[in-house]
């Protein structure tokens, strides 16, 4: 690759600034899309997307940290929704919708390169008071892009009333669907998935100071090779070592300190990880009731009951993780994630080989092609009558969205 092209690949946003010095306000970006310079940048960015899709590979932890050098996770001023053909909805949330997309007008051979595009409507984000969470999500995804088991946000951009995150497409669908269909996973399958999650948490907590805060099978996808990808960073927050107080997560997976509002940190992910391993092995989480308040009562009490056939090692791991006292919780004590990796339940895991995806996954999705969506459920079309993003809203809120 020529060095100029490489430079563009690594610094697409930089080159744009060179072309348009001083024009950094995102609100005005779509007004000058027709300028020849911007048109050229757009074509280059699309070309780069194709190259990334073709060559994507996990980065080493040190490379991920290097925001300047990696060519993913950047904020684009050139891309816009019209550059993508929306093929099918892959998932919906209360204020977001994820689409399978194809980049329009590309060279022969690139037509089957697909991405997932997460679209958020600014009005919904504001109405549901999720502005801060959405900002955290974009910034955390940008800084972790390149990790082998976290969805890669290739780029983010925005237009007048929407925010966009361009992600790599995981054709295998949610671990949740596999788990519900299988009812439970056997021990080796559970160990494999759990081990990949440990690598994710180790990285998020110890390299990034980030608490993920919404671990559950619904948020874990399976990629084309059978490896995991953690998605939906809506509640992820850079907490460093300070405690935080906002209650968020999923009822069955909330840690006791979140319920009691005594302040929480990355330790909540280790609690949720224990719940996850339990759900893998048993088919349902340990604390459950039709009445959510009863779930919370069980959680703060913290007594996990195990089916009689669960192995001793699995019990010991789950008990260590689901410990109400955070000063005794596995993963949060001295040694951090290392104490989890050293647990006997993981004794057969080669952590180094696992990180570099050298170990085959237990479920490799059957795919008819890269754009196969049969592992995703069908979703209702987006409601047509959307609330308008007004000038007043834009004046008040666009400042908060400028990272996109």
């Amino acid at each position: 690759m020529a060095s100029a092209a490489m430079h563009k690949l690594l610094h697409p946003h930089r080159s744009r600034e060179e072309n348009h010095p001083g024009q950094q306000n995102p609100a005005s970006s779509h007004e000058r899309q027709d300028s020849a310079g911007m048109e050229r940048v757009r074509e280059e960015e699309k070309h780069n997307l194709m190259q990334w899709e073709e060559q994507k590979h996990p980065l080493a932890p040190g490379q991920i940290q290097n925001q300047e050098q990696k060519h993913v996770g950047y904020s684009s001023e050139a891309l816009r929704q019209e550059d993508f053909e929306l093929i099918k909805t892959l998932g919906t949330g209360t204020f977001a919708r994820v689409w399978l997309v194809r980049v329009k007008n590309v060279n022969n051979g690139d037509e089957n390169k697909v991405f997932a595009l997460k679209i958020l409507r600014k009005t919904d984000v504001i109405r549901l008071k999720q502005v801060e969470h959405v900002r955290n999500e974009r910034n955390v995804l940008a800084s972790v892009a390149g990790h082998p088991f976290i969805t890669t946000m290739v780029a983010s951009f925005q237009d007048y009333d929407s925010l966009y995150m361009l992600l790599d497409y995981c054709p295998g669908g949610e671990v949740f669907s596999y788990l519900r269909r299988a009812r439970r996973f056997n021990e080796p399958t559970s160990q494999f998935y759990a081990a990949e999650i440990v690598l994710i948490l180790e990285f998020l907590h110890e390299q990034q100071g980030v608490a993920y805060r919404d671990l559950k099978p619904e948020n874990i996808l399976i990629d084309a090779e059978g490896h995991l990808k953690l998605v939906d960073f809506g509640f992820a927050k850079k907490v460093e070592n300070r405690e935080t107080y906002t209650l968020c997560g999923t009822p069955e997976y909330l840690a006791p300190e979140v319920i009691r509002n005594t302040g929480h940190g990355t330790a909540v992910d280790w609690w949720a990880f224990g719940i996850l391993v339990y759900e893998f092995l048993v088919g349902q989480p340990p604390f459950w009731d039709q009445n959510p308040m009863k779930i919370y009562e069980q959680i703060v009490e913290g007594k996990v009951r195990f089916p009689s056939a669960m192995s001793e090692d699995a019990r010991s791991l789950i008990s260590g993780l689901c410990t109400v006292d955070t000063s005794k919780r596995l993963g949060n004590i001295q040694g951090g994630a290392g104490t989890v990796k050293a647990h006997p339940w993981f004794r057969q895991i080669d952590w180094e080989a696992l990180y570099y995806r050298k170990v085959g996954g237990p479920i490799v999705p059957h795919l008819r092609g890269p754009a196969d969506t049969r592992n995703f459920d069908e979703y209702e079309p987006e409601p047509a009558n959307r609330e308008k993003y007004t000038k007043e809203m834009s004046d008040k809120w666009d400042e908060h969205f400028r990272d996109f």
Partner: protein, 452 residues
């Protein structure tokens, strides 16, 4: 060569059963055990989509049988998980509609509807029917709920809360005057609620003080409407309320809009407590049956009180810890970990907190009150401790006996940390002390470092 894990699991499950039942005829018992396991496992297989629909989608075809990175080559026929409870009282036993809520397959409809009504039954129970709802802890340890909701679970979140960082700008919760009897009634009303039972005296007083009186002038007023957003928790002071649930999941207009009456709440009862956690749709409609009075508490106030006192206490502990020379080399995040692990204890006046000659296990910071130091053979106190003073810190370092006794002279509150807790979080304190010893830093070599 090791035995396949599935085999080991089965054998250990069998061993546990044998221990439990102590059978006379061991062979017959084992044979029965395996027959039962085989039946349940095959039943599971027959129910799987993989088996019932050969055109089944993606996953089933190539996933569970084999291709397992850790499994032994021989267990490729093992289709499903080996973990299994004895009583197959969960989904396998009832694969039909009863285990799936009507909306189970509809990804658009999340939780609420009728299955979350239990939600409400819970509060009503706090009124008078305590006995009829055994606490969940008394459940048979082997019985798992057989109606687990298999839908995708929706994430929840409350308002973003940030503690006031500057001490000049402290949060003052609202305070509404109450008589002594009213306070007692309120305390009794929330006593069984775990959200309140964890509060310390100060938090408890603030929360009760923040409850606001809300007169309900007549019969027929809807205090909460099913399906609406919920921000308040209510305690009934006097009067009577009726509870209705509409199967559609929300209050509707028209004659039958309320749905079916499912209960009533009278004085001392409470409802709407989920609203103290986050904003979830109300699970029922509650309407006054006569002129009544309520006490109301909103989520933001409640969580703010909890957060603020937790935040203040942590910062106070961190401040105290900074003053301890033995721990001066702690990094600020380490101090906050320790602050998180400190345990608050209260002792009446005249308590011997540490006893001269005992082996020291814990380190103490005096949070409030006063204490004095005595040595054997000397009736006069050698020293007086007050708020922010600390003692017993050498226990973190070694097992030497306590050099003196510390006795409280007033009621005291101490923050306590054991040696074990400290080491669990940060490793041996010696290592931490060595860190900022300048003589070690300059030559860059730590002769003791190898031991780590």
């Amino acid at each position: 060569m090791s035995l396949p894990p599935d085999y080991s699991n089965e054998i250990s499950a069998l061993s546990r059963e044998v221990l439990k039942h102590q059978p006379h005829d061991v062979l017959q018992f084992c044979a029965n055990f395996f027959l039962r396991r085989l039946e349940s496992q095959r039943a599971e297989f027959l129910l799987s989509p993989q088996h019932s629909s050969p055109q089944g989608r993606g996953m089933a075809e190539n996933s569970f049988p084999g291709n397992n990175p850790f499994g032994s080559p021989n267990n490729n026929t093992q289709t499903f998980a080996s973990i299994d409870e004895e009583e197959e009282n969960d989904l396998v036993a009832s694969p039909t509609a009863s285990s799936f809520p009507p909306n189970a397959m509809d990804p658009q409809s999340h939780a609420p509807a009728e299955d979350s009504f239990g939600n409400f039954a819970g509060f009503a129970a706090s009124a008078k029917a305590q006995q009829s709802h055994p606490p969940s802890s008394s459940r048979d340890p082997q019985s798992f709920p057989n109606n687990y909701n298999l839908n995708r679970r929706t994430s929840v979140s409350a308002e973003s809360l940030n503690p006031t960082s500057s001490s000049s700008d402290t949060f003052t919760p609202p305070y509404h005057q109450k008589t002594e009897e009213q306070q007692q009634r309120l305390r009794a009303a929330v006593a069984g609620n775990f959200l309140f039972s964890h509060l310390d005296d100060e938090q408890s007083a603030q929360v009760l003080g923040a409850l606001q009186e809300k007169p309900i002038p007549t019969k027929g007023i809807k205090v909460i409407s099913q399906g609406d957003v919920g921000d308040f928790f209510y305690v009934v002071e006097k009067g009577m309320f009726e509870v209705y649930v509409n199967k559609s999941g929300k209050l509707e207009t028209g004659l039958d809009g309320l749905g079916a009456k499912v209960g009533a709440v009278g004085p001392g009862g409470s409802f709407g407590e989920l609203a103290l956690m986050y904003n979830a749709p109300r699970a029922a409609t509650v309407m006054s049956a006569e002129q009544s009075t309520l006490w109301a508490l909103d989520r933001v106030t409640f969580r703010r009180i909890l957060m603020d006192s937790a935040f203040q206490r942590r910062r106070m502990y961190e401040g105290f810890l900074e003053e301890v020379p033995l721990l001066s080399s702690l990094k600020s995040y380490e101090r906050s970990k320790i602050a998180d692990a400190l345990e608050t204890k209260k002792y009446p006046a005249g308590t011997t907190i540490i006893q001269e000659g005992d082996v020291g296990e814990s380190f103490y910071i005096l949070e409030s009150g006063e204490a004095e130091v005595y040595k054997r053979g000397n009736d006069k106190s050698l020293k007086r401790y007050k708020k922010g003073d600390y003692f017993g810190e050498l226990a973190l370092l070694n097992d030497a006996p306590r050099a003196a006794s510390v006795v409280s002279t007033t009621e005291v509150k101490v923050a306590q940390l054991g040696k074990n807790g400290f080491q669990r979080l940060l490793g041996p304190v010696e290592g931490i002390m060595r860190r900022n010893d300048p003589s070690k830093e300059t030559d860059g070599v730590d002769p003791l470092a190898k031991s780590n």
